[in-house]
């Protein structure tokens, strides 16, 4: 009885004092997100689904998406964690400027990013010229896919982790330093573990964005099967009917959807085990 009473109180406290009528737009918002996916599932041709998703083209696109998405996420972690630390530990003014710079790729249409990267790494640019002299060509390669994905995904990781780092503050780092810990040990044993929720959220968002990336990849990396044709590009190609049916496109979309949900569930399970 005591337990029940406690449970009720906990639920009441959790509910707070949000106006009840807000439930209406909340449900509409949820419907906006879920209904299109439902419509997609309704169009699946179950008879040909298995052959569609196991076709060499589909598996090649899925494999390329997972590999490039994973590599892009790794790139984002290596570059984004230091960038998030830099922003979180700078003055309010500097942090505001840096945060604005990081946010720009978020508000830009990814296609614009693709064009911009083409201008930077293309043969006509200074950088592209230098790279070409060394025999390195980036546009329309798998490397370009990773670069394009990193470009659009990096802000998600940086912003999520930076918020977490800033909220934790430097008090625990000071305590660790007082106990004699050096900077690397503090980073590994105190700062990053404390920011783990932000880091995990950032990695999930980053990977999800990388897998779904289309616009920048299309312009900067192209649509070569097995080299730069990731799942979104394969789906786009399928919808345009170049050699395959629309059913294939729907099947591929379902495959991407299932993959994304699978990754999310995996991370959730891992976080549930982790201490909080």
């Amino acid at each position: 009885m005591t337990v029940a009473a406690h449970g009720d109180r906990a639920r009441e406290e959790r509910a707070g004092f949000v106006p009840r009528v807000l439930a209406v737009p909340a449900v509409i918002g949820l419907a906006l997100l879920i209904l299109p996916l439902g419509a997609l599932v309704l169009r699946v041709e179950w008879s040909t689904l298995w052959t569609d998703v196991t076709s060499p083209e589909a598996l090649s696109a899925l494999g390329l998406s997972l590999v490039t998405g994973a590599v892009a996420t790794a790139v984002c972690v290596v570059l984004g964690v230091p960038l998030a630390l830099l922003i979180a530990r700078s003055t309010v003014r500097t942090a505001a400027v840096l945060r604005a710079l990081v946010t720009v790729p978020l508000v830009l249409p990814p296609m614009v990013g693709g064009v911009a990267m083409l201008f930077l790494f293309g043969r006509t640019s200074w950088l592209g010229g230098v790279l070409a002299e060394w025999g390195i060509r980036i546009p329309f390669t798998t490397t370009a896919v990773v670069l394009a994905q990193s470009f659009v995904a990096l802000p998600f990781l940086v912003l999520a982790l930076e918020g977490s780092l800033r909220a934790t503050g430097t008090g625990y780092e000071q305590a660790a330093a007082g106990l004699g810990a050096g900077r690397w040990r503090i980073l590994a044993r105190v700062t990053l573990p404390l920011a783990a929720p932000g880091l995990v959220a950032g990695i999930v968002l980053c990977f999800a964005r990388a897998i779904g990336e289309f616009g920048a990849t299309a312009l900067f990396a192209g649509n070569a099967p097995g080299v730069t044709q990731t799942m979104p590009l394969a789906i786009y190609t399928a919808f345009n009917g170049a050699g395959v049916t629309q059913g294939t496109a729907v099947a591929l979309s379902l495959l991407l959807l299932v993959t994304a949900v699978g990754v999310l569930l995996l991370v959730r399970a891992w976080r549930a085990e982790a201490p909080r």
Binding site: G171, Y172, Q174, A177, L179, G180, A181, G182, L194, A196
Partner: protein, 396 residues
């Protein structure tokens, strides 16, 4: 293991041992200009009103806060040094000072168990994983938490968290331990327990320590010496009980729970003192002056307990009686404290007697001159000035 008797003359600490700091910090309108000496293995209490600069000073000692001029030396090693006007100086980072700062918030790492929190410091100092864990278990036993090593900080009470933080700090055998109001956020009983533990462990480990506190009880229980810091300056230092018995400032008197009334000495006009005697006067209060003092030479403060003042009937007559106006009545656990003006004197009376009085009323007070101690009140005069390290401040 009581601290060595600490005479007035030997206050200056030899540079070889202990903590020796002299720093100036300017931050906007605030200026800290203070010297602090802690003999090796001893505990010094640091008291002062809020905003006096206690935390700033501890931050400087811990290496978290920079300063504009001065030095910090610890056991013969110069940690920081900066010459006047120099754009930069020597500064030792917090991680290589051997100074642990323990504040009101114990700052236990929330993602580690109590045991791993203590082991963290040991591991940093080169212990293997198993040795660090064994050391942590032993330290948790010493602070009475042997059964709770597996818990996370969030699963511990405030007092238990402070115990773990103390174990974590002492386990690293710090060259100096700085405690910034470590008991403030604890309830009275828990604070008493942790205070006793602190005293016991600081004495057992002979740790050189500074305790900033608002509570005279902490100073008496933990420290051998007391430093009073007011408005960024040291106003009094000395053995704890000496400072509390002869407070040099209103703040120190308030901490000690004493009345401190500044007055002037004068040739007596009262026949009850006899010819040639000197009286001390402040507002309506007149007392036989301090012995051997010539009239008008300096100002003196009369120090006496609120409980030694009596409320009497009738008009004032004779030694130590005066008319006072009640400013307000303050309820205290023991009764009522009556605040009077001109001079500002607090009088403690039993609750049932206080019902007779009201604010703005006029009463007659009596104070036995035998209950009064006179303290030189030269304004900025330092009692027990620690030699050259802290020269008397210029007048004005």
């Amino acid at each position: 293991m009581s601290p060595t008797p600490d005479g007035e003359g030997q206050a200056a600490v030899p540079a070889a041992g202990g903590l020796d700091a002299r720093v100036r910090v300017h931050r906007g309108g605030f200026a800290l200009d203070a010297a602090l000496q802690v003999p090796a293995g001893e505990v010094v209490a640091l008291m002062g009103p809020s905003g006096a600069g206690k935390s700033t000073l501890l931050g400087v000692l811990a290496g978290m806060t920079g300063f504009d001029e001065g030095h910090v030396r610890l056991h013969g090693r110069t940690l920081d040094e900066r010459a006047p006007g120099a754009s930069r100086g020597r500064r030792t980072p917090p991680s290589s000072r051997g100074v642990v700062l323990l504040g009101q918030d114990p700052r236990l790492f929330p993602h580690l168990s109590a045991r791993d929190n203590v082991a963290f410091g040991l591991h940093v100092h080169g212990a293997t994983k198993s040795a660090a864990t064994a050391g942590a278990v032993e330290w948790l036993r010493r602070v009475g938490l042997e059964d709770l090593g597996g818990r996370r900080p969030a699963q511990l009470s405030g007092g238990q968290q402070q115990r773990v933080a103390l174990a974590r700090a002492l386990a690293t055998q710090p060259a100096a331990l700085l405690l910034d109001e470590p008991l403030t956020s604890l309830d009275t009983e828990t604070a008493g327990d942790v205070r006793a533990l602190l005293h016991q462990q600081l004495a057992a480990t002979r740790t050189t320590a500074v305790v900033a506190t608002h509570d005279a009880v902490d100073a008496v229980a933990l420290a051998s010496r007391l430093v009073v810091l007011e408005d960024g300056r040291v106003t009094q230092t000395g053995p704890v009980r000496d400072v509390l018995a002869t407070p040099a400032t209103r703040f120190a008197a308030a901490v000690a729970g004493l009345n401190r009334v500044v007055g002037t000495t004068d040739a007596s006009s009262k026949n009850w003192l006899g010819p040639g005697a000197v009286t001390w006067r402040s507002g309506g209060l007149e007392l036989p002056g301090p012995e051997g003092v010539r009239p008008g030479t300096s100002s003196w403060a009369a120090v006496f307990r609120p409980g030694d003042v009596r409320i009497v009937d009738g008009s004032p007559h004779g030694a130590g009686e005066w008319t006072a106006r009640i400013v307000r009545l303050e309820q205290t656990p023991a009764g009522v404290r009556v605040r009077t003006a001109d001079p500002d004197v607090a009088v403690d009376v039993a609750a049932e007697r206080a019902a007779r009085f009201a604010a703005r009323e006029t009463i007659t007070l009596r104070l036995d001159p035998a209950d009064v101690r006179f303290v030189a009140a030269g304004g900025d005069v330092l009692i027990d000035s620690p030699g050259d390290a802290n020269p008397p401040l210029p007048p004005g």
